[in-house]
Amino acid sequence: MALQFEVVGRFNRARASKLTLPHYVVQTPMFMPVGTQGTIKGLTNSQLEDIGCQIILGNTYHLALRPGAELIDELGGLHKFMNWKRALLTDSGGFQMVSLLHLADITEEGVTFQSPVDGKPMLLTPEESIQIQNKIGADIIMALDDVVRTTITGPRIEEAMYRTLRWMDRCIAAHKRPDAQNLFGIVQGGLDPVLRDICVRGLVERNLPGYAIGGLAGGEDKDSFWRVVAQCTAALPEDKPRYVMGVGYPLDIVVCSALGADMYDCVYPTRTARFGTALVPEGVLKLKHNAMASDERPIDSTCSCMVCKNYSRAYIHSLVTRDAMGSQLLSYHNLSYMMRLSKDLHMSIVEGRFPEYVRGFLRTQFPKGDVPQWVCNAMEVAGIDISSCCAPVPV
């Protein structure tokens, strides 16, 4: 195990922690920006450091294609290749194949897919995924899991869950650098509580450095989503980090953190930036909208990022979808927003004012008091009284 996980504050199920990884000490709850190909789109490392990014994610599938794991290894690993001094996490590559390539086929051996380079059939086994990730050298690496869409039902879900456990053992056996890289297991089992339970137990038995909750954020209904998260976080060990994969909407992160999750990743903040949308405490702000053309205010007057300190909505409106700078500036702000959210969650838990923070967050997002029912249900389980946010507003 190459990490230390120290809980520094709690509120009911929510926790704030200091996660010491080989390259950096990360404070959780933490959002991890996705740097698919060894870069966060449109931002330099110094900018990522300026806005408080502590750990970023690389996609094994993309990196293995270009520039290739051998090359990264030869040049000293991904940290050195991209000159990122803080923590890194790589995924297993399996999810990318299943979601990007329609022709992926999963067998007991591994994931078979058509090479996007020459169209030849290729096979990614658990052993190979770990081998590649060992070469890339991230602080946290992920086991190859059998991913199925959460909207699928029936025996396939069960098969995938058991296979994920069997592959876990192959990953553990293949892992050559447990002293320098932390292998996380991934809980599968669809929306079935029984299957999820079997999977959690199986993974916990294997005593891994950390655990991820997988197979979510794939179009399932929100009530099912939070119930799976709540079930898994309740059953996972207290002294290990918990990572909900693919989650990136600010509201989801607040809810999952209240339920005891610690880490998140999503392309949403940077992708939506490229389409001209800014994340703000109230929700989103569409900079392409005509009303922005004469709006002299900053994107978010409560944000102290470089973009909000210097630019008006009107100016950014003139850049979005025309100039690269438009998406650069919006990505910068959106990731600043996600880092501020992470920090606020951490600090409010440490300072014993987490419920107040959650209520303030919900009041800003839902000024009319129309907090979605699934959020109310989740908060009840999290032991956070949000009745004052849901009260009908007097007309």
Binding site: Q37, K41, L75, N83, Y311, M325
Partner: protein, 401 residues
């Protein structure tokens, strides 16, 4: 604005008209910009890929001088909004920088002489052809408030007829008078546009006329539009022979290193160039040595690759190259990243490639101008220019053989 020629031209030799100057644009505390200088290209007031936090790391005060194309603001924000925000400096968050405006650029507001008529100048923009009259133009100028601005010009390519060329001069002169009459500052920040195509007599006539106007400097328009590099020296000299010594001269679209040297030799002080932008988009990085007088030219040739001035980082030879673009370059890119990483970013079409390349290329090109000023101080400009041209020629010959 105040401009002082700190070292007048020697008046002899190939580089006889090259001169050094100091441009004071800020208040009392602002440092002067030494000329010859590069006016860093921008899109809507910001360099294409370098945001303000990264701009701060470029050489100071050289990087304070930015170009502004008023045509970029024809659509939005409205002049009223720009005025409310407080002008371009405030709008792009670069209060300490200096903006020099001239009508078009060579990226997204190209002068379109066929669409130009007596009402206004036409430009090809991403949203189609736009006709700008002096009143529109001055509205954008008075709302953006650049530190210096060139008057609206009818810039025509080298191949137009004599008649069309004469017409462009008449229009440009009329528009200068129109701009001046609409200018609240009465020409204090105005660079009068000089045109005349590739006809020496026309160039002279226009320069003479503009010199009689109440302007603070000159904008040499209509270059880089199809004239040959051989005829250009004579055209530039025909203009600078007439222009008063004490006023600043700004030329647009002469951006290649050898074109800059040609312009400096003809007595030009400011250069606006989208060269950096085009290099960056193509995946090129500038690598030519800046200290041409310190090293032996043969050594330079051995070290250089590609065409002597630049390398293309797309090339597979850089796949495993862990050296910076240029050894000892102090820019952010070279201090932090390798050629191998840039090669990867270009291969996977990541925007960071352009950000890092624009930083290095801007840094390097500002360094080139610094070297030019240095050799002018040492009175070795002619040698410097010769060495540069020779290395380039030798390299080209070798590349062809």
């Amino acid at each position: 604005m105040r401009f002082v020629v700190t070292k007048p031209s020697a008046g002899a030799g190939v580089a006889g008209k090259a001169r050094l100057g100091a441009l004071y644009l800020g208040g009392g505390a602002a440092p002067p910009i030494e000329t010859p200088a590069l006016v860093v290209p921008t899109r809507r007031g910001l360099p294409s890929f370098i945001s303000r936090d990264l701009l701060d790391r470029l050489p100071y005060p050289d990087s304070l001088l930015l170009h502004l194309s008023p045509i970029h603001f024809v659509e939005c924000p409205s002049t009223r909004t720009i005025k409310n925000i407080g002008g371009v400096h405030q709008m792009v968050g670069l209060q300490d920088h200096f903006f020099i405006a001239s009508p078009g650029d060579s990226v997204e507001s190209l002068p379109e002489h066929e669409g130009t008529n007596k009402i206004g100048a036409a430009f090809e923009t991403p949203s189609g052809r736009r006709l700008i009259n002096p009143k529109d133009y001055m509205e954008i100028i008075s709302s953006t408030r650049p530190n210096l601005w060139a008057s609206l010009a009818d810039e025509v390519p080298a191949w137009v007829t004599e008649k069309r060329n004469r017409l462009s001069i008449d229009r440009t002169l009329k528009w200068l008078d129109d701009c001046l009459s609409l200018d609240q500052e009465k020409g204090v920040s105005t660079l009068g546009a000089v045109v005349g195509g590739s006809n020496i007599e026309n160039r002279k006539r226009c320069a003479t006329e503009v010199s009689m106007r109440n302007v603070s400097g000159f904008y040499l328009g209509g270059f880089g539009l199809g004239e040959s590099i051989e005829e250009r020296s004579a055209l530039l000299n025909a203009v600078t022979d007439i222009l008063p010594e004490e006023k600043i001269r700004f030329v647009s679209r002469l951006g290649l290193p050898e074109e800059v040297l040609q312009g400096v030799a003809a007595g030009i002080d400011l250069f606006d160039s989208t060269y950096i932008y085009h290099l960056t988009l193509g995946g090129f990085a500038l690598v030519f040595p800046l200290d041409l007088l310190g090293e032996a030219p043969e050594a330079l040739l051995r070290n250089s690759s590609s065409d002597y001035t630049k390398i293309n980082l797309h090339a597979t030879i850089y796949r495993k190259d862990t050296s910076p673009i240029v050894d000892k370059c102090s820019c952010y890119t070279c201090q932090n990243h390798t050629r191998a990483y840039l090669n990867h970013l270009l291969n996977v079409h990541e925007m960071l490639a352009q950000i890092l390349l624009e930083i290095h290329n801007t840094h390097h090109f500002l360094g080139f101008f610094r070297s030019i000023r240095q050799v002018l101080k040492q009175e070795k400009f002619e040698l410097f220019r010769q060495r540069f041209m020779e290395s380039r020629r030798v390299h080209l010959t070798e590349a062809l053989s």
